[in-house]
Amino acid sequence: MTTAPILHENLATRRSFFRHFGLGIGSSAFAYLCNQDNLRASGQLTTHMPARAKSVIFFFMCGGVSHMDTFDPKDNRWAGKMVDTTNSNNGRPQSRPVLYCPRTFTRYGNSGTPVCEWFPHIGSVVDELAVIRSMRTHHIGHFQAAIQMATGHKRQVFDYPSLGSWISHSLGSVNENLPTFVNMGRPSSPLQASGGFFGAKEAATPFQANGMPLRNLQLPSGVSDLQRRRQMDSLAKLNEQFHQEFAFESEITARAKSYELAARLQMSAPEAVNFNDESQHVLNMYGIDEEVTNPFGRQTLLARRLVERGVRFIQICHGGRGNGDWDSHDSVADHAPLALQTDKPIAGLIKDLKQRGLLDTTLVVWASEFGRTPWSQNTIGRDHNPYGFSVWLAGGGIKGGIVHGATDDIGHKAIDSPHYVGDLQATILKQMGLDYEQMEVEINGAPHQVIEECDGPIEAILG
């Protein structure tokens, strides 16, 4: 294996940029680090249509949230009755009784959108939400479904980039001191944070909302600020000779700039995660004052602060361990503590964005890899259900207080306005000013679409 040279192309057209990229030439680090202004001037980083949103905050609940127990209430008319279905483990026909759902739903706000008792805070902002009850996906396995939700592709054979990296790749950075695509929390699959064929430069930068936000940002133990400053001064001097000799090489310029950006990150990233300038009442909105909501609250508040600093795509994964904490096969009641951890912070975020006038330009998405079945596996929990589930969106030009689409009487399949996850992705892209049909890259000479299967953006929820 050899490394490819970094070419300094005259990046004349988007097309040729993509073509060169497709040939596997990593011109983009150079582009990213040295050519931001040129790219913008030559129209590289422009949108296909007017953007409604500047940033996306994508909440991903790992494991599969039960839609019947959260945003898609069903009456218990069918409870205990047998339905014919397929065993998800062996694909054989089976007959299962519909599980009784003990949730109580309340109609909130002017819209009267029903929300279950686990999400009273989200209920209080329900007039901002467009709930889609008719999502569907192809895979019944966690990781495949999570990968589809992130990449828009159902095949696992190719390293497809995730939505955040497409947006980061297409729109570039607003703030040169921070990354464009940030992930917090552990995703179900590493592909959810991957740059895929765009490579490491478009992958999500993992941020932590506690202490140091980025890896390698902190000086190693035993190294003092003074010592490192002395070293950095000397580093510049000792690099001088080599940098001068090779000043004609773009890679060397890029390398020097990468150290400058690293230094700026060391200054600006800890500032982003330092909540000292937030008032107590704002911290309380996110539940940072309470133990149970503190970890997720810190992540959601950091998300708002990153939005304010121009980060394009912030993904927050909740419960990403093993198959995902929301994977309640044994008892749906296992959702309760998870809902408690996230309800107040999510609602606090929406209220806070709104009071700052940021909600109009910030698209908030809440999703999971799939929903859960109307029946159990001889437990009081529910199995995986890719045929029908709910997601919701808020802000960023989304029509609030509406419910779109429906599943059948028992909540198994999306029957009214079914949407494959690709439609959700196309909607997010559209709000960011991007037309999924115009987004294509050539990899080894073959064109690759951002989304493999799609009926277009979900116009019914757009304001």
Binding site: A4, L23, Q144, L191, F246, R255
Partner: protein, 253 residues
């Protein structure tokens, strides 16, 4: 050839078709010996060109052939992930050169493993082995790529990779600046220089440059290094950190 995995209609044209043909026939002639063809290439006048030279000539050539398509200079190469790892440990005098055997897991992956179920494979516990033995790969549910390999563009093997990307990014700089690998190696290398030079700092500086960059320092560099050390042998570790973070350390010229 910019598309080594695609010689078809969608691939790029090679810059020197006759040369490529000749190399192909030489490879066959030599009984498909990779060693023979490598020897032929690396001993050629073209391969042995300098990567820089007379600034005026370089400037003129850069205008005529900015991409170096005609191979008028040696291409400046950033080291690959594994080689950076090896170079850092080698400078510290701590690289285990054993050939063959099991892979090892990077420290970061071992930490990850504690809170996730799967145990994959059977690993060596010597973490100072060469970078090519650093476990990597892809799993749908578990991050298997060590940070070093990720930031320096190693592929996870999920798809075929004819040519690695070679980016230059801030996370790479942060890695070299603050990661434990470089910090520990620098400290170790400092002790090594101290021992080998028997306290003579001028000799330590010379030796440091020879170990890290395979050359002696220029008088200006030596002077600066000595003023950095300020007659304190305790600063040799800090000085070695500087050497490892030099641009020249991760580029082959």
């Amino acid at each position: 050839m910019t598309t080594p995995s695609d010689f078809g209609v969608n691939g790029a044209m090679t810059s020197h078709p006759e040369l490529l043909d000749w190399l192909a026939s030489e490879l066959i002639e030599q009984g498909y010996s990779m060693k023979a063809i490598h020897r032929l290439i690396v001993t050629s006048a073209t391969y042995r060109r300098a990567s820089s030279g007379n600034p005026q000539l370089v400037a003129a050539n850069s205008v005529i052939d900015p991409e170096n398509t005609l191979l008028w200079k040696f291409r400046l190469n950033r080291l690959e992930a594994e080689i950076i790892h090896d170079a850092v440990l080698f400078a510290a005098g701590n690289l285990d050169l054993t050939i063959g055997g099991k892979s090892f897991r990077a420290a970061q992956i071992m930490v990850r493993r504690n809170n996730s179920a799967p145990t994959i494979g059977n690993y060596d516990n010597r973490t100072n082995r060469r970078g090519i033995y650093m476990g990597r790969g892809f799993s749908g549910s578990l991050e298997m790529m060590p940070e070093l390999l990720q930031v320096f563009n190693a592929e996870d093997g999920q798809t075929t990779c004819a040519v690695r990307q070679c980016t230059i990014t801030a996370p790479q700089a942060l890695y070299m600046l603050n990661n434990d690998l470089t910090e520990k190696a620098a400290a170790r290398m400092g002790e090594r220089l101290h021992k080998l030079s028997a306290g003579d700092l001028q000799q330590a500086v010379n030796l440091g440059y020879r170990i890290a960059l395979s050359r002696f320092p220029s008088s200006k560099e030596r002077e600066h290094a000595l003023s950095f050390l300020a007659a304190k042998p305790a600063r040799l570790g800090e000085f070695c950190w500087l050497l490892i973070n030099l641009t020249e350390f991760i580029f082959v010229k």
